[in-house]
C-alpha cells in the first residue's frame, strides 16, 4: 500500500489525477469537520478542471450514509465535478455479513406451485418449474432450471445488478430491485419461444429481456470462475 491510505499523509484532502479521472483522497486520521472544511476549500479551487468525474478514496475510515451524502453535497455544491463512486478499505460487521449472505447460493429442488413463496438471501437456484402464482425471491440472482411461469424477484435487498435467468422465461411478473414489470401482451420484448432467456435492469431503469448468451457481456461480474485452460 502506498502512503495515501495511511495517516502519514500530511494533507487532509488530496486531489490527484489518475488515468480513470480524478481521485479525491480523504485523510482517515483527520477529524470529520476538518475534512469537510478542507474539502470545500480544495474543490472550490477555480484551477480545477470543470466537469471531471471523480472517485472518493475514503481509506480506513467508516463513514455513515448521511456523512457520505454530506461529502458528496459539498463537492456538488462547490464545483462542477461529478462523483462516480467511493472506495473504502473498511466495512462494518453488519455490511460484511450481508455481503457474505448475498454471495451465497441456495438451491430449491421441486416445483414452486401456486401460492408458494421461496426466498433466499443470496442467489436462488430453482430446479423445477415455477407455476403461475408461485413466487421466488432472492437478494441476489434468480436462476430457474425449468419453466418460470410465476413471479420472480431478484435483487430483493436493492441490488440493481441482479438478473433473472430461466430455461423458459414466461413469467407473469418480473421484479429487479424495486422495478416491477408485468409481462403483458403489450410488451414487445416478449418472444414466441422464450427459451434460455435472462432479464436485467437496463440503465434506463426498465427491465429488459435478452438471450441467455448475452449475460456474460451484460453482467460479467456474475462469473466467479477463475483460471481454466
Amino acid at each position: 500500500m502506498k502512503a495515501q491510505v495511511t495517516g502519514f499523509l500530511k494533507n487532509i484532502v488530496n486531489i490527484k489525477g489518475t488515468n480513470k479521472g480524478l481521485l479525491i483522497q480523504l485523510n482517515d486520521m483527520a477529524s470529520y469537520t476538518e475534512i469537510l472544511d478542507e474539502l470545500k476549500k480544495k474543490v472550490s479551487d477555480p484551477a480545477l478542471e470543470g466537469d471531471a468525474e471523480v472517485q472518493i478514496q475514503l481509506a480506513k475510515r467508516h463513514y455513515s450514509k448521511a456523512q457520505l451524502e454530506e461529502i458528496k453535497k459539498v463537492i456538488h455544491d462547490n464545483s462542477k465535478m461529478k462523483v462516480i463512486g467511493t472506495k473504502c478499505d473498511v466495512v462494518t460487521v453488519e455490511e460484511c455479513n450481508r455481503m457474505i449472505a448475498e454471495r451465497q447460493s441456495e438451491t430449491y429442488v421441486g416445483i414452486v406451485r401456486s401460492g408458494q413463496v421461496i426466498k433466499a438471501k443470496g442467489d436462488l437456484v430453482v430446479i423445477g418449474d415455477v407455476n403461475q402464482n408461485g413466487r421466488i425471491e432472492a437478494g441476489g440472482n434468480v436462476y430457474v432450471l425449468g419453466r418460470l411461469k410465476g413471479f420472480a424477484h431478484a435483487g430483493a435487498s436493492g441490488n440493481k445488478e441482479a438478473v433473472i435467468a430461466a430455461s423458459w422465461l414466461e413469467a407473469t411478473h418480473l421484479k429487479i430491485a424495486d422495478e416491477l414489470e408485468t409481462m403483458t401482451d403489450e410488451l414487445d420484448s416478449l418472444s414466441e419461444q422464450p427459451e434460455m432467456e435472462c432479464a436485467y435492469l437496463h440503465t434506463s431503469g426498465k427491465i429488459i429481456i435478452d438471450r441467455l448468451q448475452e449475460l456474460r457481456f451484460l453482467r460479467p461480474q456474475i462469473s466467479t470462475f477463475k483460471g481454466g485452460s
Binding site: 406451485r113 401456486s114 401460492g115 418449474d129 407455476n131
Partner: protein, 267 residues
C-alpha cells in the same frame, strides 16, 4: 386394513362429488367394501347423487358429537349387498364444527372394516379442506381442462405435498371434450399433466348422461356402455393395482354401415 382416499380439487364444480360417487360405486361393483364420507358440511350433495337422501337418519356431526354410533349413521346402498355405505354430512352445522383430529380418529377407527374409505372434500382450502385431508392416506386431485381449474389444482397439490402422512397425489382430468382439445381450444391432457407434474390416474370424458343419472340418483358408472362410466371403471381398476391403458379420446369414424344406420335413425 383399508385405505382412505380424499378426493379434492380446490375449485368448485369440477366433479369432486360426482367422481366420489362413481369411483365408490365402481369399486363396489368390483366387489370391494367401500364407505363414502361426505365432508361438505352445510352443503351436502353426495347423498343426492347416490339417491340415498331419504334414508339419512344421523350424520357425521351426530357421530363426532357422540349422539349415535357410526353404524347407526351409515346409510347402506341396497343396490350393492353390504358393499357400499355412505356417511352423510350434516346440513345444519358448518365446517368449523369439526376439527382435523376428530376426522383422523374417526377414519382410523373405520379403516379396519372397509377396503376403501373415500372422502369427498368441499371446495376451497379452508377448514373443510383441512378436515377432509386429515384422515386420508392418499389424495386424488380432480381438474377439468380449464385454466382456472388447473390453477386451483396446482395450489391444492402444493398444499397436499406439505402433508406428511399423505402419499404423492394423483390426478384425474374430468369432463374432457375431445373436439375442444383437438381444436386447441382447451388444454390437452399432456399440457395439464406436464404443468401439474403429478401422475395421471385417469381421464373421464364429458357426457350428458352423467348429469341425468346424477339427477336420478344412479351413478353413471352403473351403465357399462357409457364413455364416462368406462373412464371411472378404468380409474377404479387402476386403484386396485391393475395397469389399464389410458382410454383414447378420438371417436371411431363411422363405417359404411354406421353411416347408413345414422341416415335411417335420424328424425
Amino acid at each position: 386394513m383399508g385405505e382412505a382416499i380424499v378426493i379434492t380439487s380446490g375449485k368448485g364444480g369440477v366433479g369432486k362429488t360426482t367422481s366420489t360417487a362413481n369411483l365408490g360405486t365402481a369399486l363396489a361393483l368390483q366387489g370391494k367394501k367401500v364407505c363414502l364420507i361426505d365432508t361438505d358440511i352445510g352443503l351436502r350433495n353426495l347423498d343426492v347423487i347416490l339417491g340415498l337422501e331419504n334414508r339419512i337418519i344421523y350424520d357425521l356431526i351426530d357421530v363426532l358429537e357422540g349422539r349415535c354410533k357410526i353404524h347407526q349413521a351409515l346409510v347402506k346402498d341396497k343396490r350393492f349387498e353390504d358393499k357400499l355405505f355412505l356417511l352423510p354430512a350434516a346440513q345444519t352445522a358448518d365446517k368449523n364444527d369439526v376439527n382435523p383430529e376428530q376426522m383422523k380418529e374417526l377414519i382410523e377407527g373405520m379403516k379396519a372394516d372397509y377396503d376403501f374409505i373415500i372422502i369427498d372434500c368441499p371446495a376451497g382450502i379452508e377448514q373443510g379442506y383441512k378436515n377432509a385431508v386429515a384422515g386420508a392416506d392418499r389424495a386424488i386431485v380432480i381438474t377439468t381442462p380449464e385454466i382456472s381449474a388447473v390453477r386451483d389444482a396446482d395450489r391444492i397439490i402444493g398444499l397436499l405435498e406439505l402433508e406428511e402422512n399423505l402419499e404423492a397425489p394423483k390426478l384425474i382430468i374430468n369432463r374432457i371434450r375431445s373436439h375442444l382439445m383437438e381444436a386447441g381450444d382447451a388444454l390437452d391432457v399432456n399440457e395439464i399433466t406436464t404443468h401439474l407434474s403429478i401422475d395421471l390416474l385417469g381421464i373421464v370424458p364429458d357426457d350428458e348422461r352423467v348429469i341425468s343419472s346424477s339427477n336420478k340418483g344412479e351413478p353413471v358408472v352403473m351403465d357399462p356402455s357409457n364413455p364416462a362410466a368406462l373412464g371411472y371403471r378404468n380409474i377404479a381398476r387402476r386403484l386396485l393395482g391393475e395397469s389399464v391403458p389410458l382410454m383414447t379420446m378420438d371417436k371411431p369414424k363411422p363405417g359404411m354401415f354406421g353411416k347408413l344406420k345414422s341416415i335411417f335413425s335420424s328424425k
